[in-house]
């Protein structure tokens, strides 16, 4: 990282200031007279619920999109024209929320896209480019061959490639839009260490996250957006968590401590997984009683998602069996799992959760065609009625059941996925990272729903590495490198769980 010369004279001028920004997408007002001011050298947090307009502001601050109204200034000077990408890139680097990795290109090329090392003849020098790439990734302990296509990277490795690239421009101002959503605890640690390092060198950050704790750990000041508007900007230190959430949600919510009531110990065993072995070698055996919420925790690559997918039939296990309420599920068959009463919230809502072009009603009822019609014919009225129920129950913000899910904000989309999982009144609900990228308020709703269904006797599997998700579980199985290494009853301490996920057994050192 080459430190650019520091001009003390500029210190009072904000690194970036956006005033009165308005942005529309068709009929959606994404930003309405919103603004932000980031001071030199600070780490500034931007928070707000899903769809508040955070990422849209990022797009405007980094010159990817033009605002419909308002002005952006860097160091007190107006922002360069949109076409002049180079000028923008000198002022600001960014890790976008949406992946900007090009899967068909090699890791090395992704890191140096459009700024390849060139010989004097103007031709790309691939060998030196690879060397630089290797060097860059080594700093982040990302151990991959830079010659392989980026498509082969894990989600986490990709995120590090994005981060490494953004930080390698030598920009003095860096925007991070939910950089931690895809990282495990160790990865987040590495990132934060690095951010603190750079901050020490005078680099300014704009940091977006739905993990409020990260805001308190890392940031100096925070700006809150709500419903496309700027609500407040204040020093983090002086703002209570309560006040912050109130600003985000616009209501003074009290946060009662979860009153955990374990299921009756005589409840029948509903799900039993026997010697399940996935294609990648992860193993799982367990029994879950009716009304029980069981967590499966683990870091990246621990195999937790693979076993969950094998249980619900999304992936075909190599060995083992899954029995739900006495019925042995056909391996690798989602329809059979559905028929037996499995509801699923898959890991990635964009990839497996939603058909963006179709309406909420169609998405929600996709797993239950038999409930909305007979003889293969679909009754629109029944479908819409069912969807309206879901919309009400999960407080999905939408005009109606016919709204295409592509028009919803992330949190609301996730609720639709949850609605789809609940549509067939499941006996077993499997939730894979159910609250990823979801704002605090929506998180509350979603986890509240879990509490409701478990009361009705549904067994729930929560597959996640989010401590918040796992806190509602009666017990948590911790996986590490494909094996269950620990089981923790409700009331575990965060330290123990995190240590177990990292393969360290604190009690047997």
């Amino acid at each position: 990282m080459t430190a650019a010369p520091y001009h003390p004279g500029d210190a009072d001028r904000p690194v970036v200031e956006a005033v009165d920004i308005t942005k529309r997408f068709g009929s959606t007002l994404a930003l309405s007279g919103a603004g932000i001011m980031v001071r030199r050298g600070e780490t500034h947090a931007l928070v707000g619920r899903n769809g508040a307009g955070k990422s849209t502001l990022v797009g405007i601050l980094t010159g990817l999109q033009a605002a419909d109204g308002g002005a952006v200034a860097f160091d007190g000077r107006p922002a360069p024209p949109l076409a002049d990408r180079d000028a923008w890139r000198q002022r600001v680097a960014c890790v976008y929320q949406k992946s900007t990795i090009i899967p068909t290109l090699t890791v090395a090329e992704n890191l140096f896209l459009n700024r390849h090392a060139r010989s004097r003849a103007g031709l790309i020098r691939w060998s030196s480019l690879r060397r630089e790439a290797q060097h860059l990734l080594a700093q982040w302990s990302v151990d991959v061959d830079v010659r392989q296509p980026a498509a082969t990277l894990s989600v986490e490795q990709r995120q590090f490639v994005e981060i490494a690239r953004a930080l390698s421009f030598g920009a003095r101002f860096i925007v991070l839009d939910e950089p931690t959503a895809q990282l495990d605890a160790a990865g987040i640690d590495r990132l934060f260490t690095r951010i603190r390092d750079l901050r020490g060198q005078g680099v300014t950050f704009l940091f977006i996250s739905h993990h409020l704790q990260e805001i308190y750990d890392l940031c100096d000041r925070v700006t809150v957006f709500r419903d496309a508007r700027h609500i407040l900007t204040a020093p983090v230190a002086g703002l209570s968590r309560q006040a912050l959430v109130a600003a985000m949600t616009g209501e003074d919510v009290t946060m009662p401590e979860a009153d955990h009531r374990p299921p009756a110990s005589d409840a029948p065993v509903l799900l039993s997984v026997r010697d399940l072995v996935t294609a990648s070698g992860a193993r799982l055996s367990m029994r879950v009683r009716a009304g029980e919420v069981v967590g499966i925790a683990g870091g990246g690559g621990s195999g937790k998602v693979e076993v969950a997918e094998a249980v619900v039939g999304l992936a075909r296990p190599v060995a083992g069996s899954v029995t739900l309420a006495g019925r042995v599920l056909r391996p690798g068959s989602v329809p059979d799992a559905l028929a037996a009463g499995v509801g699923l919230v898959p890991q990635d809502r964009h990839r497996e959760g939603l058909v963006p072009g179709l309406s909420i009603a169609e998405n929600v009822t996709m797993t239950v065609p038999q409930r909305i019609g007979r003889y293969g014919l679909i009754s629109r009225a029944r479908r819409d009625a069912l969807a309206r129920d879901t919309i009400a129950a999960l407080t999905i913000k939408a005009a109606g059941p016919q709204t295409p899910v592509a028009d919803l904000s992330g949190g609301n989309q996730q609720k639709v996925v949850m609605g789809r999982a609940l549509a067939n009144d499941p006996r077993l609900l499997v939730l894979v990272t159910p609250t990823a990228g979801v704002d605090v308020r929506s998180k509350q709703t979603l986890l509240g729903v879990v509490e409701d269904v478990r009361r009705r006797g549904t067994a729930v599997l929560v597959v996640s590495d989010e401590l918040d998700d796992l806190r509602i579980c009666d017990r948590v199985l911790v996986m590490f490198q494909g094996r269950v290494v620990a089981e923790m009853a409700h009331g575990w301490s965060d330290n123990d769980l995190v240590a177990a996920m990292e393969g360290v057994d604190l009690h047997h050192v």
Binding site: M255, V334, G353, V355, G376, P404, R441, G448, D468
Partner: protein, 345 residues
Amino acid sequence: MSDTLSTGTVPASAPPPTRPSSRHLAVARLRDLALVPAIVAVAIVGWIISPVFLSTDNVLNVLQSMSEIAILVLAQTIVLITGKMDLSLESTFGLAPGIAAWLVVDPELTRGLGLGLLPDAWAVPVVLLVGALVGAFNGLLIVRFGLNGFIVTLGMLIILRGLLTGISGGQTFFALPGSMTYLGSTSWLGVPASIWVSLLLFAAGIVVLGHTRTGRALYAIGGNADAARAAGIRTDRVLWVALVVASVLAALAGLLISGRLAAVPAAQGDGAIFQVFAAAVIGGVSLNGGRGSVFGAFTGVLLLFMIINVLTLAGVPAQWTNFLNGAVILVALVVSRITGGKAQT
């Protein structure tokens, strides 16, 4: 962050940001009707150019001459909605009746063309069977082996056309049995049967794609195949079905035109696929899957054939007909882009 969790009652949520999405809905529904004004306009222009244009005779003529291509468009629409494409339909259109004729036609009557292996009654079943087999083979390569649909069906287009040339020796099959010519040449209630057949198929298509489980599954697969699979839709099976149904429809369309011509020329359907794509896309069917309607596709093919008919009636010079056809397609495309309002990707 445990303090953010609440297992108590869900508090009333903040009022949603205003979204005039009812307008959005209206647009979505209107998209189906997007071409209707254009159709009316062409009808008026046609009537001004030649009063004959709106005569029953000419209207039936337009409907009949578009009926076979329309069924191809329906077939292609089904495949396009799943996010695939099937170029080979134009060859199936010729091959299916060609094979039936080859197996059935008496070599005595046609100087050795045809084998006369099967009795006449088999002709129509064979046509449909060939369609089903072609569809199944496409399915094998595309769904099972994961080959790219565009290039598989491109190869099949060439192969099937070559197969027809091979078995017919490039000649036209004549002396078709009555069962093969019946549908294409008879009239019901004074209206050619092929018009009835195509209209009925479109009506069925509207119902199936709009109001049945399988139909909606096509949209789900086209919109996001992984999500459809996770929702318990047997995506592979539905894709096979779509490909087979499309090929069978193409075979049926081929049967109709063979009936109308009372013959199967070796070049039957040659180049038709361009028109088929154009009609489907003008009718609002997306090439990326998941979007479009059967009714829209129908308006697309209707508009195209009305314009061709007007051009014929107006007697445009022969060397400029191709140019005008192309121009019509491009203009219709741009217009449908403007009325549709969304960038096509």
